[in-house]
């Protein structure tokens, strides 16, 4: 469950925290969502929206980690191919992974 979709806040109305509502742009479709649970969210931020409520602000730096890790394993894959082409493979231990830690 938990169909929640990321969208960009284009405008905000409402005075107090619980009545703050944002107009969210989901790839060209606009729908309102309550910002009651993301008091720190501002116009231009991306939020994850579930049943009309923004539940979190997308951390754009963290969002890149999936691709940073991907680059690492792709580079590793290229190194392996190069090593194979050069001759018998030396005994390689699995590399220490730079994972987003808890």
């Amino acid at each position: 469950m938990c169909l929640a979709v990321p969208g960009k806040i284009t405008s905000i109305t409402g005075d107090d925290q619980f009545s703050r509502v944002g107009k969210i742009d989901f790839g060209g479709v606009l729908k309102e969502a309550s910002l009651a649970y993301v008091p720190e969210a501002q116009i231009g931020d991306y939020v994850i929206v579930h049943v009309g409520f923004a539940l979190s602000r997308v951390d754009e730096e963290e969002a890149l980690k999936v691709f940073e890790y991907l680059r690492e394993i792709q580079e590793l894959g290229e190194l392996e191919v190069a090593a194979e082409n050069e001759g018998p493979r030396p005994n390689q231990a699995a590399p220490e992974s730079q994972l987003p830690r808890a």
Partner: protein, 366 residues
């Protein structure tokens, strides 16, 4: 769509899959908790990219599937009343009760309406003062903040014709129930990313430690799931059992505090019956005393309804990952999406429905 499409890139998915294959030295059994993850896995065919030695079990993360039979029957009874407008998420409409379902109630004259957000139910109540508006509050911790806000606002504005049929359930107790079962085969979990967006992941630390299982909080797009699987395998292969956060663009360790706060005010933790599994202590949410007047079960006097589960339905064993859908004798024969025996065949997130729709039990022809 930003923060969505990039995570569906085919090249990237295959790179992740290759890395998973490279580091997997023996068979492992993983469970993805959330129905949304099941849906993505089957829809994108992610399990096809994984090495055969990895077994992905679909967990009970489908709140629609686990809503107990008697709660559906209570919903049906309330929805059939002339003075009631019964509002619900679309997922619930085809779930079979003992004899019928909400869609059939609608067909015979019940005012049953699909809504997108619990706040829409408040609007309907305000616009229909002579009717009682009931909202079917189904969902995990992801959805309870939305329902909580609806109840909170109803109380604040003194709305007399709104009530809630509560069916919220909690994930960690379900995970523990699965892990403590003597038949359990799950060795690692992909925890539900949006549940953890709300709740954080601290409550998984004692579970990982006690049962010695890796738990990786995972998102819903193909790259999220693949990275989550990779992180699980890395832990399994090196004998670690920690809680890690793959979905860090949305999940923080402490979760969403304002949401948790309102949920704690409006709801309290109660024992809940899970369809096909039985009662799990402290596994659900009920309205707190201060908001008890909004409880539809009491308002409509259906609190004491008792119902028997049909014997043939094995959705409980499917939900716990003990059998795969096609291993149930009724699968595809007496139980199909058109004539479902249990919720796992009806709900679009249900493992049985997903298997049936995508025919996973048949080898996909090249």
């Amino acid at each position: 769509m930003k923060f969505l499409d990039e995570y569906r890139d085919g090249e990237a998915a295959r790179s992740y899959a290759r890395e998973i294959a490279r580091i997997t030295t023996r068979p492992w059994t993983l469970m993805e908790v959330c129905g949304g993850q099941t849906h993505a896995i089957v829809k994108f065919g992610i399990d096809e990219l994984l090495p055969k030695s990895l077994n992905l079990i679909h967990g009970p993360g489908c709140p629609v599937c686990v809503t107990p039979l008697e709660l559906i029957d209570k919903a049906l009874e309330i929805a059939a009343r002339k003075d009631v407008i019964f509002t619900s998420f679309g997922d619930m409409l085809r779930v079979p009760g003992s004899r019928t379902d909400l869609l059939s109630v609608k067909a015979t004259g019940g005012d049953v309406r699909i809504i997108y957000s619990p706040l829409d139910a408040l609007k309907i109540a305000a616009n229909n003062p002579t009717k009682q508006v009931v909202f079917f509050g189904v969902g995990f911790e992801t959805t309870s903040p939305a329902t909580a806000m609806a109840v909170y606002q109803a109380a604040r504005s003194g709305l007399k014709n709104f009530s809630l049929l509560v069916s919220h359930v909690l994930v960690p107790p379900a995970m523990e129930a699965i892990l403590s079962s003597p038949e359990r085969r799950v060795q690692a979990f992909l925890a539900a990313g949006h549940v953890c967006t709300v709740m954080g992941f601290e409550e998984y630390l004692p579970i990982a430690a006690k049962y010695r299982v890796p738990i990786v909080v995972t998102g819903f797009e193909p790259l999220d799931i693949l990275q989550g699987v990779l992180m699980c395998i890395e832990q399994l292969e090196s004998g670690r059992f920690e809680v890690e956060n793959q979905y860090s663009r949305s999940v923080r360790r402490e979760g969403n505090q304002p949401a948790q706060k309102l949920v704690q005010e409006v709801f309290r933790v109660v024992p809940r019956k899970w369809r096909g599994v039985g009662e799990i202590p402290a596994s659900g949410l009920g309205l707190s005393e201060a908001y008890a007047e909004f409880d539809a079960e009491h308002r409509f006097g259906v609190a004491n309804l008792q119902v028997e589960e049909p014997a043939e339905c094995q959705s409980g064993r499917v939900l716990q990952g003990l059998i795969k859908p096609h291993e149930c004798p009724a699968f595809g024969t007496r139980c199909t999406p058109e004539h479902p025996l249990g919720a796992t065949m009806v709900s679009s997130e249900g493992a049985c429905a997903a298997y049936y729709r995508y025919r996973r039990h048949e080898p996909a022809a090249a």
